[in-house]
Symmetry: C2
Subunit: 163 residues, 2 copies
């Protein structure tokens, strides 16, 4: 099945916040994002992976202008919920392959990851949807990541990638 890759996007205006060691029990996600939403903070990605030992990390990204406020909210909540801690990164690059038919995107994802690996760019986070495969990388590699992915996926004219 053909997947149509229509573009590669780069967002260099994001900060990353991770609440470490959140109890993996009903209600914790709500206690974190309720106050974030109430503060009017615009969240882009939210990523939580599955846990094994009863605790997990929750990461979200915000526009860099919202980082300070997000940290104020999150540091308070982290104490209230007895999380292990809070980490953040002032600037990260979110790079995405955008396309259609991405439900069969294993091939697109694999190729994206290979292109980045060839440039020795470390993938910090991965999140996917039917129309997008997104990774977060160190902001200093954002431009390089976008350019090499653009060359790999879109330089052959059609933008079509056989998945």
């Amino acid at each position: 099945e053909d997947v149509l890759v229509s573009g590669v996007t780069l967002d260099q205006n994001q900060s990353k916040v991770t609440i470490v060691g959140v109890e993996d029990a009903p209600g914790l996600a709500a206690r974190i994002f309720g106050p974030i939403a109430d503060a009017g903070i615009v969240v882009d990605m939210i990523i939580q992976n599955a846990s094994e030992y009863g605790h997990t990390d929750m990461t979200f990204t915000v526009g860099r202008d919202d980082l300070r406020r997000a940290l104020e909210v999150i540091e308070r909540i982290a104490k209230e919920i007895s999380a292990s801690g809070v980490r953040h990164e002032d600037q990260v690059a979110k790079v995405s392959i955008v396309g259609l038919g991405m439900r069969t995107h294993a091939g697109v994802a694999a190729r994206m990851f290979s292109v980045l690996a060839a440039e020795r760019i470390n993938i910090q986070m991965i999140s996917t949807s039917e129309i997008k495969v997104s990774v977060v990388v160190d902001s200093k590699y954002g431009e390089l990541a976008m350019r090499t992915l653009h060359d790999a996926f879109l330089e052959n004219g059609a933008g079509a990638v056989r998945a």
Copy 2:
């Protein structure tokens, strides 16, 4: 800014596979998803959160019919890359809020998480995009999750949620 929630979806036909303790260095994601793509396995979600100590977990979901083949591929790769191990769950429920303007989805996400918390449904994984906030929950709660989210977001006629 108004967010338009257009629907709540439930996918009960997914299995979850987690490769635990993957070295967080360039090339590992490619080594995992290359073979998965080559095997023609259809992947839905891919989730990797940020790591702190040089290793991270990578989780993906596949249609339940692909689980056995996915595990064959992954168990071999996990050894090759010296991952700590592989976990899987035969059936999980992926529940999503689908809408437009979800870049301001902190409010939608917070409300979704609160609705699930009120039913004591544990959120195992979270992944978001501009058009979707998706969670993975225990498959036995899939129907309940969908119904309560549908009632919360769509029963007031408009389907419009002030974010």
